[in-house]
Amino acid sequence: MKRVVVTGMGCISSLGRNCTDFANKLFEGKSGIGPITLFDTQGFKVKVAAEVKNYNEQDHFSEKELTKIDRYSQFAVLASRDAVIDAGLDFSEPLAERTAVVHGTGAGGQSTQETGYRRVYAENAKRLHPFTIPKLIPSASSSWISIDHGITGPAFATTSACSSAGHAIGMSLLMLRSGMVDVAITGGSDALITLGTIKAWESLRVMAKDTCRPFSLHRSGMVIGEGAGTLILETLEHAQARGAKIYAELAGIGMSSDAHDILQPLVDGAARAIRLALDDAGQSPESVEYINAHGTGTIQNDHTETQAIHAVFGEHAHKLAVSSTKSMHGHTLGAAAALEAIATISAINEQTVPPTMNYLEPDPQCDLDYVINKSRPMPLSVALSNSFAFGGLNTVLVFKRYNKD
């Protein structure tokens, strides 16, 4: 089976505009969570989110482009530009045709949707901007990335709520292994800090009262974040042939479904995804040192995820370092698996595990080592990144330290 490696990374989030800032802030335990500024939260219970700071779309896109590109696509394009530059890739043919673009999103062009609906339903507008449709469709991000780099190979979007980027990375891995493509630009993006979306999340009553406290007693739920992450994946042979810098190996993926409930997570479904990932990567449970958890900070997920880790790892569970970086960058939904993959790869490269921040005190139902409130230098060769989405759609990625053989 062809081996696949990570040769470039790019991201934009509440923790900064590039992967260096992102990783540094994670290791320093800095939070991107703060008061919502993107809309007026008068009358809202939810007042905090993890917004991208000081973002001005005119800095990155022309007026003409802005008529056609929603905020979520903008993030996807910016993260992908950085990743492609980082990988040092040039997409003339034949590589352009042998490259895939697979980006994930939970909702696509949400702010375009909400603007459109407000105009039509509340303001009785006679017309909408002609480019409303191409802006809001969830495939727009992948289209824009392919246009931006002249990619003529397979390009499409994946969607599975909080696992969207996990499935995008998974599809890319499979296409690379099959020999269909040599390179993939993959990841995910969402920009859902909008009035309508936050109102809907608030109504589900899973939102944190103060901040995101994964695995902690007194945790009260999620904090929404926005942003995008992109990985450049390549077959090892293609990367070696061009002398590419290699960040880590993407050794495997596990994809499972709970077949249970549209909201409630299931221990068996999560455990299955972890097991499948380890099998796919040819790794034993005992070889794993770190798990970047789904860790949303809800009562449900954190308990279920803890049980799933126990189920798969047995005695070894207590030797694992498990942390949730959502405590710092929030739950970025369709971007989550991509940003968290970047966090996991950074951990391997720095031989340091980022912390679970905002932890108050132990919950007896969450009894693992969550690397609380401070990052930890430690030897790291094998790490997992979990994503467990609403509707029971699970992905687990396995990253390995790359040693030149």
Binding site: S203, L204, R205, K209, S220, Q264, I299, Q300
Partner: protein, 89 residues
């Protein structure tokens, strides 16, 4: 104190529980009739819409501890909130 408020509340609880309406009484324990944390969210939505009140988040420990153990608990809280609402308007 209006019985029609209790009646409306019990109608909403019956709709979301496994029981026939005439089996739902003030003593009914919500946890015993299929009301878990997610069903509770739907009940709260219906109550807030019906009475134009805002119910503070209950304690979702999954053990049904907190405000909403029995139908009587729900009636009590809703009536308190309606009264607060009337006073402030």
């Amino acid at each position: 104190m209006s019985d029609s408020i209790s009646d409306n509340i019990l109608n909403i609880l019956a709709k979301h529980s496994k029981l026939e309406r005439d089996k739902v009484t003030l003593d009914t324990h919500l946890g015993n009739v299929g009301v878990d944390s997610l069903v509770l969210v739907e009940i709260i939505f219906d109550l807030e819409e019906r009475f134009d009140i805002s119910i503070p988040d209950p304690d979702f420990t999954g053990n049904q501890k907190g405000q909403f153990e029995t139908a009587a608990d729900v009636v009590k809280i809703v009536k308190e909130l309606i009264e607060q609402q009337t006073k402030s308007s």
